[in-house]
């Protein structure tokens, strides 16, 4: 990333949240929304501009599951492991995805196409088991359907 672009982006953000106490988490949310993760050079810059030690920023990033330190895959798969989905067989869906894509939880496939996350309750328990790829929600998913679902997203590239 170019040095200049980084500073401008951060400057705007800091400007927007300046004077609001406890702003760090909201700033991190905006950074992650934009980049899909929190890049290290941005954290460095942020530390300078907010005048807080880098360690303080990392302390916060690593505490919260939501913030990521590495770039996500092209498509994000979130498999729900909330209680309803667990009872209806979510663990076998996760196994199947791991098998098919050769990927671990929280990791990205070698080709960078898919990132697998296990999440807690997507709020549509009536449809359990549920998985979400990017913004598309799949409900009442059967293990046998996984390959097709993945293929559909894979093809879009």
């Amino acid at each position: 990333m170019e040095e200049k672009a980084v500073s401008i982006e951060i400057k705007n953000l800091v400007e927007k949240w300046k004077g609001k106490e406890g702003n760090l988490i909201m700033i991190l949310h905006e950074i992650q929304n934009h980049h899909g993760y929190v890049p290290r050079d941005i954290s460095l810059k942020l530390s300078e501009m907010l005048d807080v030690p880098l360690a303080r920023i990392y302390e916060v990033i690593t505490f919260y599951n939501y913030f990521k330190l590495s770039p996500p895959g092209k498509h994000r798969i979130s498999v729900c492991m909330g209680t309803a989905c667990y009872l209806k067989g979510a663990p076998s869906l996760i196994e199947e995805i791991k098998d098919l894509l050769d990927v671990e939880e929280g990791k990205t496939t070698k080709d960078g196409l898919f990132h697998l996350d296990v999440v807690r309750c997507l709020g549509c328990c009536g449809l359990s088991p549920v998985l979400m790829i990017d913004d598309k929600v799949y409900g009442k998913v059967k293990k046998a359907e996984i390959a097709d679902i993945l293929a559909k997203h894979g093809k879009e590239g």
Binding site: E21, H29, Y66, A84, L87, C121
Partner: protein, 582 residues
């Protein structure tokens, strides 16, 4: 398009029998025709009408009259009396034991949540107006006391008391926080309210702020609920434009404004002191209480934290009066509770019921029993901090105290139905695993106790349990309850304790006989080929990762138990159900 004055919904609610609605439907249409009403009355066959096993059922809208167990011969009476004259027929009417009562969800699905005028059209912000212009903070707290409203976020602390404590402290700034972190996995009550009726939560918050003398409020909402965040944000802006937030609200002397802060995927941040740390931009680790937030909260100032559902009740209380609100419920628990009923239940969804209703009414009358048709085994309430309630106690009236007596808690409203196929040891392991992962790690009873307990449960489900383990579980649980810093650790053992309490035999079956009675724990299963059913296709052999299935298409196949790693692949791939799992 015809404009109908009545719509009749029709459904045969006995699943087992053949659908009898076809004749009934044609008959009904014909009779309507004969009375020249077919232009005015529309009959619709629906796939679900919300009641079960009550024969042919119709619901007449907009009158909202429901008739059950109908026969063709009832049709003329229905048309003559109810449709023409608008009078109900007592003998046909379905006496709904499955009584639902909508207070919190009163507007959800009825109004456009993005349009403040819709909300105002259903008396929205009228309660606020009454409070600001005609009442005083003391009177507001008094009214809340009459209502008996207790916090819906889990602990059930009386809301008026919390407000009174915060009011009593003099400070230049005070805060109100709406807890929209909704951490219980498998529950979505608060999400539905935030998305479906955001203004009622904001109105409740402004009234709370007026009562304690706060000037600033925060919504803390999980980032996983983007739509809820968007709706609340829009609602705040609209309220500001209408003079309902900001300086001199509705022309009064009262100033108050709110902002949104996002959670970031940490269950412990639902705990109030952790939530405060998180709004302050720090790691969400709890701190010891007292001092309670109502004395020393956000930025060290008096702070009231209320749950979304708690706040959504408040406008209703001030519209109808505290006494009216207190009419629904039991001696110690007033009003209603919203539950997200999920798991092995036929009609999964949100229900709002008066406190004091029995679990049986919720599960059977409202939600239609188990989805599998199998025996119900237990109901779990309170999520990872709660416990299981076995089927014997289904007739218990639901309120804070009764659930606690049974070793569970009301919690925030997750209600999971389990049937015979669910293994309670496995469930306990699931919930405990959740708390172990979400423990912030600050104090050792929770961090280490949880991990050790989880190890014991893992070994039990893998067939390596020892009989002393049951005692060990109880001992660690006791230590965690007594010594953990926050309620996460103090309650994390509840699912384990309650399953040990009610299903000790099931634990023993795992430990002593190395069997899982519901065949859920795969490490305890043994797989066998049922030779009579086996078509010798060889698919299982191909899929077995352990080479445990010798044989050929001519000789047939067997499973060598000593080589089997119990992965269950063969069981899943066999197309002829020729593999048994025991």
């Amino acid at each position: 398009m015809a404009v109908y004055s009545k719509t009749i919904l029709l459904k045969d609610t006995n699943l087992a029998q053949e659908d009898r609605t076809r004749d009934f439907y044609t008959n009904f249409l014909q009779k309507l025709e004969e009375s020249s009403l077919s232009e005015l009355v529309q009959v619709v066959r629906v796939s679900d009408i919300g009641v079960y096993n009550k024969g042919v059922v119709i619901k007449i809208m907009p009158d909202n009259i429901m008739y059950a167990n109908l026969k063709d011969s009832d049709i003329p009476r229905i048309i003559n009396t109810t449709i023409k004259e608008g009078k109900p027929l007592d003998d046909l009417e379905l006496k709904r034991t499955g009584r639902q009562l909508r207070i919190v969800l009163r507007n959800c699905g009825m109004i456009d949540p993005e349009n403040i005028r819709d909300y105002i059209g259903v008396d929205g912000y009228l309660a606020l107006k009454k409070v600001l212009l005609e009442s005083t903070p003391e009177k507001v707290i008094e009214e809340m006391k009459k209502s008996g409203l207790r916090g819906r976020g889990g602990a059930g602390f009386p809301t008026w008391m919390k407000w009174k404590f915060a009011r009593a402290i003099a400070a230049d700034e005070k805060y109100v926080i709406c807890n929209g972190d909704e951490g219980d996995p498998g529950a979505y009550m608060d999400r539905s309210v935030l998305e479906g009726d955001p203004h009622s939560v904001i109105e409740g918050m402004i009234i709370a702020a007026f009562a304690i003398g706060a000037t600033k409020g925060y919504f803390y909402i999980r980032a996983e609920y983007p739509l809820a965040v968007e709706r609340i944000q829009k609602a705040i802006e609209d309220a500001r434009t209408c003079g309902l937030l900001g300086q001199n609200i509705l022309g009064s002397q009262f100033n108050f404004d709110v902002e949104v802060r996002l959670g970031a995927g940490a269950f412990v941040c639902g705990e109030e002191t952790a939530l405060i740390a998180s709004i302050e931009g720090k790691r969400g680790t709890p701190r010891p209480r007292p001092p309670y937030p109502s004395v020393k909260g956000l930025w060290g100032k008096p702070t009231v934290i209320n749950n979304v559902e708690t706040l959504a009740n408040i406008p209703y209380i001030f519209l109808k009066g505290g006494d009216h609100f207190a009419k629904a419920g039991t001696a110690t628990s007033k009003g209603t509770k919203v539950f997200a009923v999920t798991g092995k239940v036929r009609n999964s969804g949100l229900v709002e019921v008066p406190m004091g209703i029995t679990l049986r009414e919720i599960v059977y009358d409202i939600c239609g029993g188990t989805s599998s048709g199998k025996q119900l085994k237990a109901v779990q309430t309170g999520g990872p901090s709660g416990g299981v309630i076995p089927a014997e106690y289904l007739d218990t009236p639901v309120d804070y105290d009764n659930l606690q007596k049974l070793g569970s808690i009301m919690g925030s409203g997750g209600m999971i139905i389990m049937d015979e196929d669910d293994c309670l040891v496995d469930i306990a392991k699931f919930y405990l695993g959740f708390c172990v992962e979400e423990s912030c790690g600050k104090c050792s009873p929770c961090r280490i106790g949880g991990t050790q307990m989880l190890r014991v449960l893992e070994r039990i489900t893998e067939g390596k349990g020892r009989i002393e383990d049951l005692d060990m579980l109880r001992r660690i649980a006791f230590a965690m309850q007594k010594a953990s810093l926050c309620a996460l650790g103090q309650t994390a053992a509840n699912p384990v304790l309650s399953t040990v309490r009610y299903f000790e035999a099931e634990y023993k079956e795992h430990i002593v006989n190395k069997k899982c009675p519901s065949h859920k724990c795969s490490k305890l299963a043994s797989y066998m080929i049922i030779q009579d059913k086996c078509k010798k296709c060889g698919l299982c052999q191909k899929h077995c990762p352990a080479g445990a299935i010798p044989g050929s298409r001519e000789e047939g196949y067997t499973i060598k138990q000593d080589r089997c790693v119990k992965c269950g692949q063969c069981f899943e791939v066999c197309k002829f159900k020729a593999i048994s799992k025991e």
